[in-house]
């Protein structure tokens, strides 16, 4: 059944024209970099550096054997000045010296090697979700069937992938093929929206030189939000779709963002971990500019550099800048100490907070018409406001891809997606509590049975004792017997410590 239900979004307030991606610019290296120390549930990464140790570009700062904990690297040479609240502050010395321990690999790789490289270099998905790449490759089945490269970039404000392809198309195609070869995937599909004409040309030229090795195809899809969502992109490119609750990886489909492929290529070809990334910066006056930023660059550094073009009026009235990450649709507000990470694909700087007061839902159905995975957000909203886990399950809340189309078209301006995210977490937590309760019940029943058995068991032994009075055994006899038993077992040990008791 065609899960895709992408209505022509020009009807419903989701229509916008996307300006052409601008060339990549660079910023001067900031004076301090803040590299996060990643942790996963209770395990945190092990520190390799202490305050005061000098660093070189690309040098790993932490170590961990758990695939879920991301290893972070210094993005520029300098000296560690402070390690506090999960962050390493590095004072850069401006020399930008590359560390010499970087290991290049030229020969062909096995899946295990590529997983190690991904883990060693701390590679995570750069599409915005930030899923650890090593774990994604490891969870692939024996014979994966497809590598799906996501270059769709359907959010109206994000252009970083477009700029990346135009700048490094040959390297991108090369790294895509290397990944496919390492993971023994024979079929590669790159999905890109049809309004990125220049990138498509670049990719086609680069692919023309590579046709010798594998069947790689470039599929152009209609430019409609949210065509970049994993399962929708798969549906658009190959008209297959996974089962309702299966993740793509377990269905043998490795889906990666094109920027992640490029970062993997860097790690494989010249051993450089992902210490920088291309980010679109949307300035208050609406211009989209692409910058190559070092990870760990504080957002304030970007604001100082870019913001001087702000309209004079807003500076005088001291209107606070409102900074968000994630493009126009999947935007999350950033606080003042936020830094650039591997997931910051778009930083939007705007003067107004742009939040409308919401009015109660009038069940008009605009949201259920626009929802790309055919859910009923108006019922979900009702079930989430008065939390009802059973009803949320009936309405398949787990299939919501949080694309925020319903927020845009809702006449009552209700923050639906935020509510659904919260409801999913609450439902997840309740499931865990239910599992813990079931386990506790099993342990309780087992204990009751054991106590029952002991009580009936004791009565039987006491009967035996009444039948044959036990011979009184003093402590010394017990020790002597124990010594004899151990002497039989280990003749040599018994000799040296026999007398020590």
């Amino acid at each position: 059944m065609n899960i895709l239900h992408l209505r022509d979004n020009r009807q419903r307030g989701l229509h916008w024209s996307k300006p052409r991606a601008r060339p990549i610019e660079t910023l001067p290296v900031p004076d301090t970099l803040y590299i996060p120390i990643s942790h996963w549930q209770q395990t945190t990464a092990e520190l390799l550096v202490t305050t005061g140790s000098t660093l070189y570009k690309g040098q790993p700062l932490t170590r961990s054997y758990n695939h879920n904990v991301i290893i972070t690297h210094a993005s520029s040479s300098g000296e560690v000045i402070d390690i506090s609240d999960n962050r390493i502050a590095i004072k850069t010395d401006g020399r930008d010296e590359v560390s010499d321990e970087l290991t290049k690999t030229t020969d062909s790789l096995s899946r295990q090697e590529i997983t190690d490289i991904a883990h060693r270099n701390g590679l995570t998905g750069q599409g915005g979700a930030g899923f650890p790449l090593a774990r994604k490759i490891a969870s692939l089945p024996q014979q994966p069937q497809l590598l799906l490269v996501n270059a769709a970039e359907c959010d109206p404000d994000i252009h970083c992938d477009d700029a990346l392809i135009q700048a490094y198309a040959p390297l991108v195609v090369e790294s895509v093929l290397t990944i496919a070869e390492a993971c023994e995937i024979d079929r590669v599909v790159i999905g890109i929206e049809n309004d990125k004409t220049r990138s498509i040309e670049q990719l086609q030229q680069a692919m023309a030189r590579q046709t010798a090795r594998q069947n790689i195809e470039l599929v152009t899809i209609p430019s409609q939000y949210p065509s970049g969502a994993e399962n929708i992109l798969l549906q658009l490119c190959t008209s297959e779709q996974p089962g309702p609750h299966e993740s793509l990886a377990s269905a043998g489909i490795l889906s990666m963002n094109i920027a992640t492929c490029y970062a993997m290529g860097q790690a494989v070809f010249n051993g450089m971990p992902p210490i920088s990334r291309i980010t679109t910066v949307v300035t208050p006056d609406g211009r989209h500019r692409n910058f190559k930023l070092l990870t760990g660059t504080p957002v304030n550094h970007i604001l100082d550099y870019v913001a001087y073009e702000r309209p004079i009026a807003s500076i005088e009235q001291e209107v606070p800048l409102h900074v968000t990450q994630g493009g126009r649709m999947m935007s999350e507000a950033l606080d003042t100490q936020a830094v650039i990470t591997q997931q910051s694909n778009c930083i939007t700087i705007s003067n107004t907070k742009g939040v409308q007061s919401s009015v109660p839902c009038i069940r008009c159905g605009a949201c259920s018409d626009i929802c790309p995975v055919r859910l009923m957000p108006q019922h979900l909203h009702k079930a989430a406001t008065h939390f009802d886990a059973q009803q949320l399950d009936n309405l398949n809340v787990d299939r919501c891809i949080e694309c925020r189309c319903c927020d845009v078209v809702c006449p009552s301006a209700i923050p639906l997606t935020a509510q659904f995210i919260q409801a999913k977490e609450h439902k997840h937590r309740q499931n865990n509590e239910q599992i813990a309760a079931d386990l506790a019940k099993q342990r309780y029943d087992k204990r009751q049975r054991r106590l029952q058995k002991e009580r009936s068991g004791k009565r039987r032994t006491s009967l035996k004792e009444k039948a044959a009075p036990a011979t009184p055994q003093s402590r010394k006899d017990l020790i002597a017997q124990a010594l004899k038993r151990s002497a039989k077992k280990k003749p040599n040990d018994a000799a040296d410590n026999g007398s020590s008791h």
Partner: protein, 163 residues
């Protein structure tokens, strides 16, 4: 006179039918108790006045317990019970305790004298240790029922809300 005869014959016939019916349909009550038990948090903490979750479920099934006697279940537990038993949602009865965030018992191992009293008291076998040797609580298994606190002679167990 015939009226009385008719009434008695009618009554006898209906009585006979009901007599057979009660043997054809034996009352089975435990599927309901099972459903209620599934909703309870299984901490076996006896704060509800019944020796465990199952006895409380049985009391609820035959109606001589109220749905507001389970503090670990909290307001969500009461809402679930009200939905199942189609009763009005009522707040937790403070007499049985106050709703607290999920908490876990932690033994200060240095002071533990290994008297195994808490092991015997723990309803879900979440405490491991041998006589005269150090005891400790398994973090995931502890349901926070606080039954191990009173028996401990050196009082070295304290309750930590989930970290």
């Amino acid at each position: 006179m015939t009226g009385i005869a008719v009434i008695t014959i009618l009554a006898v016939i209906i009585g006979a039918i009901l007599g057979y019916a009660s043997s054809w349909f034996p009352a089975d009550n435990d599927s309901l108790v099972e459903k209620i038990d599934r909703l309870l948090p299984q901490t076996q903490c006896a704060q509800c006045g019944y020796p465990g979750c199952r006895p409380y479920a049985e009391a609820l099934a035959n109606g001589d317990a109220e749905i507001d006697q389970c503090p670990p279940g909290g307001s969500e537990g009461i809402a679930a019970l009200a939905a199942l038993l189609d009763r009005k949602v009522i707040p937790l009865n403070p007499q049985y305790g106050v709703e607290k965030p999920l908490s876990v018992a932690v033994i200060r191992e240095a002071e533990c004298i290994g008297c195994t009293l808490c092991i015997k008291a723990c309803p879900v076998d979440a405490i491991i240790g041998a006589p005269k040797l150090m005891h400790t609580v398994i973090y995931d298994h502890c349901t926070g029922c606080e039954l191990c606190l009173p028996p401990c002679p050196v009082d070295c167990i304290d309750l930590v809300s989930d970290v």
